[in-house]
Symmetry: C2
């Protein structure tokens, strides 16, 4: 093709900015090494056939990662179209792309979003296709766009990632400057399996990703349409300070569909001021009751569409009780419908009221040209369905609230018994499961209340302990090999006095001998019987992607069925804490329903913060499950806890 | 305008087919009466300002309804654009509409669906705008389209209706012949309020409407987009006999998004036969593992798009393990992308394999012309997002299953004590709430098991009853004025012997005197203490729209929080019965989780069928609540029941 070529990169003999490699896979590691050798700082590895493919491919990708670490060269890919920058005009893509200078940075793990964002949606000014992410990953790309003055909105298509925590920390920082919209796919089990052979991703728990998005202020989208809806809103609309929406409609039915959507998306139908109502009333028939949504159909039948629309929109935008407006409008499909076009009116009003977002639902046969006209100048955003318009406003408002909040982290607290001592105890245990006594000591050390317990060897001690604690009591066997005490008859509840206790002691001994003779019986635990209260789970886990995370939910054995669990990434702020509890439906019960007194939510929040600290302090801990933690109207208690440590 | 006009309809002196009335509202009743007088069979009343407006409007609408009843004239409206029939070329609409002869019948309560279906979506061959429905209603319109040979698919936009049961019965019949798609709006409380002043509708409980749709085989859509998606599928695609989907994609990421959607919509990723895999493997690089979704990107990079697409689509369609196929395809936006167009290939294959539905996800900048080309000839349906494509297939399969099932209704059963006698007892009670003894007798009469109970006047009887029943027992006060016994200390649980019983008796007497001295104390109830089992609600209600309906769900006081309730319309078939139980998440618990033995689901189904019969038999009963009904692994018992009758 008339361009000078070289057999070997080392032959060039001049500085090279970037190497784009597109050879059969087996040659690639050598070429990358050579590139590093001649001082190239970055390479883009186009071909597939690495972690997305067979064992050989995985080995080759491992080599690339090692070269990146060892030689300090940065690698994008493999399995990528590379990058595009419409502002500088550069792309590494072998597919012909369009270069639109829109201030949107796209990060993806797939060609379809790269090509689609360029050719079809036009919503990509710069793009980074991470492909298999052997080196450069989401955190790098988000950090890059975060610093880039030409980029206002960031979109990330995520199938999975290894370094979830780094992503979380970078995203949390960047989200304060620019909206980040994430589309996390491979949510289902089967999707995750297939993602493994698509981008070689470690997919992770969808719920944990969602929690990380919420906590970092990343906006989660559920399909590509939603991504475009939000991108457009952030590009075109001013911040949305309140959630009181004014609606202008020429269709009562449309207004009703919208109200249903408001309920779903947490928006409020604004109450119109008497002034606004009066001005529309003068245009309408006398039998018409004027309210929001403002149905202007009867008025426009008399006074003409453009007139009425203009007056109504001005009045509603001026109304101090209205934070933003949704307009319904027709996109006329035929020349004889031209009189239905209110584009001009809407654009004028958007110019006069630049602080209130205006969202338009366009209904019509040929929407595209009307959308272009309406959105020219980026003052208004239009959407093809009413629920989508409502969803956008809800997200815009969420963004405003996120930017307004200042996270508060709780002060450090002293650890009873000393952190070092507790750590020694926990790591000194003989297998992965920490015994009950140590687990309770760990929780108590971190200030999480634990049920009164005594550890005893013989019956006289058991009797003494029960007396000290006060009847009724619970008697349990203590044995590291027994996880589920109920199933082997290793627990007796609600023992009301010494007679009950003696009986229970004898029968526990019998069932231990019969059923789990091989178990090493450490002794007995006498516990206070907790009769009242509601059961919750408080938990911690070390996630493969995100490291220490927290879990909250309805306790008991039915948690799985109700799927009423929330997640948080440690360290938790007081806000994350509150969110975790409020997200569960169980929080309604905890708040007190049907005249019941509410539970001690403050204690639950405090315990979660303490667990968060614990998970950060003790890297040896793989998992903590406090289930049930019984919560009262005042106070609460750990009734059962399981702690698993990582043994190396 | 050169047309002969008359001052009065009686002046015409010739037969008139239909009167379209568009005068100020106060004249309308008289004109309708005159129309009836000269023998006109039908009138369309265009204006607004009736039940949608003020009190005067409501009175006027009432007069119209009475005229329709008295004179036998049928009225459409008021507040309507009337009808359109593209096949005959007639419309009463004062807005200029397009007349496309598509075999879709639209029934709506709003001009926007009428105008939009004509001008914008083109999906209306005939339309009926019911407006305020003073006479002609949903049942009439569905019946009409059910008989109409030119109509294949029926769409109904429903804000609310009075005659829910008639709608249900007609829809159930028609749905066996033609798909009926319903869009029920005004789901939220606020939406319902606004609907009142839009179409003057009685909106009703959304959950009950949804249950009626499921039971009648009506397809429920949640927004107008979904309506169009389903309409197109029913017009263009063959029946979908299985749910094993083959996927052809040039994007791994798209495949993954689709798999996530499959999980949501109950579809299964087909397992490809060795033959299919082999034939694609020969076209792909050796490192590529071939599986469904079939990612043809690497193959087409080598062999060209059209070739590979054609082979892949044939192979997948021929695969006996594949019931239908989703294809991803690009809608080329630029001339230089023309080579990406696979429309021709897909249309060819759809002709060769007419029995397997082919659904296409079109991704691109200018989709419209490609859609038109692809769907010309009505063999294929395309959708702009993958989740929407999956949702359509799921609905298509649901339709196939609905048509395949034959409903079985349980045989009549004898009623213990005789229906007449029980009825007399129930209606003979002194206030709206039936006393416990009578309520239990009613349930026992209908074969619903009830906890062992004795009704006593004095302590000696109480002692005798407890002995007969066997300890532990429950002691309750019996008083028609006390609804919530727990709150007034009118109940004592788990009495283990005569001492407990005496104590409880005394303390019940004391608290009755102290707290509810005004209550008339009928005596005492001694009941068996039910210790094991899971609590459910079994209930019946007389709904304003649908008449007798049934309720099932998780019992106890938290039902409201989990919102785990299902509904059915009486009479229930055995299938409805099963659906009602399976729809709840609680059914997983009832089925037995974590090694627990499952509950007696058959008994629950039987009890629902018996309740269904009871609600149909006894029109006086407004509400029955059996909560809790305690269900065991074998058997179950009514532990508490409340029956409310209508007093005239």
């Amino acid at each position: 093709m008339g361009m000078k070529s070289y057999k070997d990169i080392r032959e060039i003999g001049k500085p090279v900015d970037i190497a784009i490699i597109s050879t059969p896979r087996e040659h690639i590691p050598r070429i990358v090494e050579d590139s590093a050798h001649v001082g190239i700082k970055g390479v883009i590895v186009i071909p597939q056939g690495f972690a997305d493919a067979d064992e050989e491919g995985k080995v080759l990708q491992g080599r690339l990662t090692r070269i990146a670490c060892d030689k300090g060269i940065r690698i994008l890919g493999p399995n990528t179209l590379g990058v595009i920058n419409a502002f500088s005009g550069f792309t590494s893509s072998f597919i012909l792309l369009r270069k639109e200078k829109v201030p949107v940075g796209v990060i993806c793990q797939s060609g379809i979003f790269f090509v689609g964002s360029s050719l079809f949606t036009g919503m990509m000014g710069k793009g980074i296709d991470l492909g298999n992410s052997c080196d450069i990953d989401f955190a790098d790309a988000i950090e890059y766009f975060g610093e880039d003055k030409q980029i206002e909105v960031i979109f990330a298509h995520i199938e999975g990632m290894r370094a979830g925590r780094r992503f979380f920390e970078v995203a949390k920082r960047v989200a304060h400057r620019k909206p980040i919209i994430a589309l996390k796919t491979a949510q289902s089990q089967q999707g995750a399996t297939v993602a493994q052979s698509h981008s070689g991703s470690l997919v992770g728990d969808h719920e944990v990703f969602e929690a990380s998005f919420k906590q970092a202020g990343v906006i989660s989208a559920h399909d590509p349409e939603e991504v475009l809806d939000y991108t457009k809103a952030f590009l075109n609309l001013p911040p949305m300070k309140g959630n009181m929406v004014g609606v202008i409609t020429f269709s009562g039915a449309a207004g009703i569909i919208l109200i249903d959507a408001f309920q779903k998306y947490g928006l409020v139908l604004a109450e119109l001021s008497p002034r606004t109502i009066r001005s529309i009333k003068t245009l309408s028939p006398r039998w018409m009751s004027i309210q929001n949504p403002l149905d202007i159909w009867p008025a426009l039948m008399k006074h003409g569409l453009a007139n009425v629309y203009s007056i109504a929109l001005s009045e509603v935008l001026e109304d101090p009780g209205v934070d933003e407006v949704i307009c319904t409008a027709v996109a006329p499909g035929l020349p004889e419908q031209a009189y239905l076009d209110v584009t001009k009116v809407i654009k004028e009003k958007a110019n006069s009221f630049p602080k209130k977002p205006i969202v338009v639902w366009l209904y019509g046969g040929k929407i595209h040209p009307v959308v272009e006209k309406l959105e020219e100048g980026r003052k208004v955003a239009s959407y093809p369905t009413l629920p989508r318009a409502a969803r956008v406003l809800s997200t815009l408002h969420g963004r405003y609230q996120f930017l307004k909040q200042t996270l508060s982290y709780p002060p450090r607290f002293p650890i009873k018994g000393g952190k070092r001592n507790i750590q020694k105890k926990v790591t000194g245990i003989w297998n992965n499961k920490v015994d009950e006594k140590t687990a309770y000591a760990l929780l108590e050390g971190y200030g999480i209340p634990v049920v009164k317990s005594r550890y005893c060897q013989e019956f006289s001690e058991v009797m003494k302990a029960a007396k000290e604690i006060g009847y009724p009591v619970v008697l349990k066997v203590s044995s590291p090999q027994i996880s589920h005490k109920t199933e082997v008859g290793g627990i007796a509840l609600d023992l009301k006095g010494p007679t009950d206790l003696k009986e229970a002691y004898d029968s526990l001994l019998v069932s231990m001998k019969k059923k789990v003779s091989q178990a090493q019986l450490d002794g007995f635990i006498v516990q206070e019987m907790v009769l009242r209260g509601k059961e919750v789970i408080l938990g911690g886990r070390r996630d493969r992607q995100f490291g220490p995370i927290l879990i909250f939910g309805a306790g008991g054995i039915y948690t799985e069925v109700w799927k009423d669990i929330s997640y948080g990434i440690a360290p938790l702020s007081s806000q994350d804490d509150r969110r975790m509890i409020q997200e569960t439906r169980y929080s309604q019960i905890l708040g007190g329903i049907r005249g019941e007194k509410g539970c001690d939510i403050n204690l639950l929040m405090d315990c979660l913060l303490r667990l968060s600290r614990l998970m950060l302090d003790m890297e040896e801990i793989q998992e903590i499950d406090i289930n049930p933690f019984v919560i009262f109207s005042e106070g609460g208690l750990t009734v059962d806890a399981r702690v698993i440590v990582i043994k190396t």
